[in-house]
Amino acid sequence: MVKDKAKYLILLALVGLAVWSLLPLWFTIQTSFLAKFVIISPLRAWRHITLDNWAFLPVGLMLKWLKNSIVVCGSITILVTFMSALAGFSFAKYEFPRRDELFGLFLLAMIVPGVMIFLPKFLITIDLGLYNSYLGMIVPSLVAPSAVFLSRQYFMQFSDDVSEAARLDGASEFQIFRHIIVPLSLPLLAIISLMTFLGAWGDFMWQFLVTKNVDLYTVVMGLGMFLSGLTSGAGARGGGEFLMQSHLNVEGLQAAASLVLAMPPLILFVLGQKYFLKGLIIGSVDQ
């Protein structure tokens, strides 16, 4: 009986932590439906519900951000998935000079992540003339050492029989990859693309550094504008004068915008949870 009691105390603590984790999301939802910013208990909040904040959202602007995000994150995802599956396959199944040293470079880059070296990366991007362009947002983000690592781990488990058979039949190496390996590795491709997409979607820092025009803003950049522009009054870096209108409920708008823009990753996570968890685990333990 004492044991049972301990078990329920543990459950209580677990629930408490879950509440704490979900609290920010809950407050965001609540604030987005209130006319005036106050932190009140949900029990009293429901009587003050209004849809004003949602009605005032700058739909045109947000659609544009969404378009930019889809172009940028979509390109990054497709290119990274393709390149790292190919590289991982090669590291796992081909012999070539200096193979292990080259793979070591990828491991090195896993330890020195892009955020840490943002400054030289930024200066190189400027030198290449990619500042303030789609290319500047996409090309420097194509470094994905962990995706290469993941796919190498995955392909190590493959047997060589099928590709040997195809090779004897005269298939080229790329044909083998395209027609035999790819269809067998859809879970891997799902993992890599999901993780890459989520990473790119939330990558505020890089997009903040390389974009100047509001026209190029992605979803996170737009959200950043909501967060800083509204409170500092400086209008952040250009864009929407309407944000300055004094009758708007600033916090409510921020909350509604955050919710809209936070939805895609949440939906993707729910849809791909199985793959996602698997990816995190292969990427960490089985070294």
């Binding site: 459950l11 070539f96 950043g224 955050s258 685990i281 070294q287």
Partner: protein, 286 residues
Amino acid sequence: MVRKQLQGMIFVAPALLFLLAFGIFPIFYSARLSLYRVELLGRTWVGLENYKSILGPGPFWDAVRTSSKYLCAILFFNLVLSYLVALGLYRWGPKIVTVFQAFYYVPVLLSPLVTIAAWRWFYRYEGGGLNRILAFFSLPPVMWLGLPSTALWAVSFMILTGALGSGVLLYSATLGQLNREFLDAARIDGANELQIIWHIVTPLTQPMRLYLTIMSVLGAVQVWERIYFFTGGGPIGSTRSITFEIFHTAFNVKRFGVASSMTTVATVATLAFAWVVMRKLRLQIG
């Protein structure tokens, strides 16, 4: 055979190209730039001057100290608390694990920007959640983000909302792979729960702990968005992480050479640290 070798290299080439250009080359680029004073019109060679200026007491060391404080908080959450949570969930079985780990993971999925907004309301001076709680107990309100003594902890506490998620997830996965029969055998031999956890489960999860240690260090160095939107590095620079200090030195103070030397120091230090931990990891597994 040669054809296959060549093909292997061709397959690696695209990923390698981008890795070299934007993952490896920047490290050397910043090492070179750190030896110059960079101005609008050009560069002047200054040798190790930049390093001398950052290695004494000053903003960079303050940032290192601040990052270490973030690290303490993150380590506690990533290693200790999430381990305890994962153990607790493990007792309740796989169904509970799936549901709860998704709950804990939500803050990681929300862009930090969304969480930042909510936490800012919570810490607000007027009408913020925390001050309302204080008012309920008739205590005077506190400017949580305005005082150097509280701002750091306010930021740390917010960082932690995400830290729990990945820790619980990874620990649960590791626990899920443990052999239950093995644990039952120990139980039959008369070991109590705490003994099992301390002498069997904890050593078995050691590789994961080391991995999470590396990830925590990287995380503590990299904290950026949250500081940018929360305190802007203030008050009096008390919340600047290493990455934020580099950002501040480069774009606000406009001393690219000095910022590059900071980048180089941070990179080398992280690599050295990771190397030590990984050696340990290999010893543990081997």
